[in-house]
Symmetry: C2
Subunit: 225 residues, 2 copies
């Protein structure tokens, strides 16, 4: 079969990546994680996006809150506003240790189980904010690992790791998502919870600029924009 | 600091590995997983071993039973007896897809969080039963991944992946464990649950032969031996 596991956070990037996988006629399973996030807004969006496309959606519980110290999972660390923390400088406090390594590993297990031959991840190296596990050399290394460390890899059918938006700017991602009819109005990017996106964190600022540069209106609601 | 995260399943191999890490004066955190095992016997043993040594013990919930088809996590697949399935031939049904890839990824996240500089895993390539993610080339590949995909790796302090018993026979592992005073009487190896080890599955058969070849008595109880 030509099956793919698509990591779906519920954000703009992973939703556009899901649209690309479906456009390539892949038989898709969407995979999300409940990893001790401070709010469930992202997961709600992931569910809505999967439902929009009618694809199978698996949510794996992986509660790392017992040991991670990142601002995304801990109540004790504040999410910084973008203007106090320039994007691209150093590794930000919103970094969840080894998060992509962990999520890809579960995706690999799922691929082996269902016989899917590829993993799609909406990582991006342009607006990557300094995360080491969003760089192309990381994904190349992971693909080599999957070739030697999985049953299918050893048997000569290694799992492919697809990063279709890795070299796109945020504006290009928005443009592609909109052109493909992806339900970007259902997505959530804000690092903070709440009914509306804050409009001030790194993620909101990048998203808003992406829509503006792409020439589209962002249909979600913001506190400030 | 010279800290280590030790993957502790509660079995013979991981307990001996823990003893080795402690012998090397490492500041140890033991890490176990609740991954939808059919029985909790192994985890009980992990707890008892960690307590024996007085080391911090973290159990991470990672329920993969929703998608794995392995005999170790699914009620629908029978655990084969050793005599119906020669060890070392093909990849056995007791293989949990990508299990070591997944557990190592969480260990890497924990290392980054607490500032530990190494991961110890009691993998073994001699009695490895055909698991692709127990081979030395897999661990070498994983160490390279950690160098490019983690914050500490990128900053020039890559996490080391230690596999101290990878080239030992089961008898050598038993001999080393006993010589170091490791609490092997608290460990659990049987793939089946129950009050006593079955004595018939691959894992029991290997363990019993290991004790016999090492010239020690296995202090745990068996149904058959």
């Amino acid at each position: 079969m030509s099956g793919a596991v698509v990591l779906l956070s519920g954000g703009l990037d992973s939703t556009t990546t899901l649209a690309i996988a479906l456009d390539r006629d892949r038989d898709v399973i969407a995979l999300s994680f409940r990893y001790g996030q401070r709010h469930s807004r992202e997961l709600d969006s992931a569910r809505a996006v999967a439902e929009h496309y009618g694809v199978r959606h698996i949510v794996v519980d992986l509660d790392l809150s017992s040991f991670t110290s990142s601002a995304l999972t801990s109540d004790e660390v504040d999410v910084p506003d973008a203007d106090t923390h320039p994007v691209g400088e150093d590794i930000p406090v919103t970094y969840v240790p080894a998060r992509n390594i962990i999520m890809l590993s579960v995706a690999a297990g799922l691929c082996e189980t269902v016989g899917a031959d590829s993993i799609y991840i909406g990582a991006n190296a342009v607006d990557y904010s300094g995360y080491p596990d969003c760089r192309p050399e990381f994904f190349e290394s992971y693909e080599r690992l999957l070739a030697v460390g999985t049953k299918v890899g050893v048997e000569g059918h290694p799992i492919a790791l697809e990063t279709p938006i890795i070299a796109m700017t945020k504006a290009e991602i928005v443009g592609m998502g909109m052109a493909m009819g992806a339900p970007l109005h259902l997505t959530w990017s804000c690092y903070r919870g709440g009914d509306r996106a804050c409009g001030r964190c790194d993620s909101c600022v990048l998203r808003l600029a992406g829509f503006q540069d792409a020439g589209y209106e962002d249909a979600i609601e913001y506190e400030v924009r």
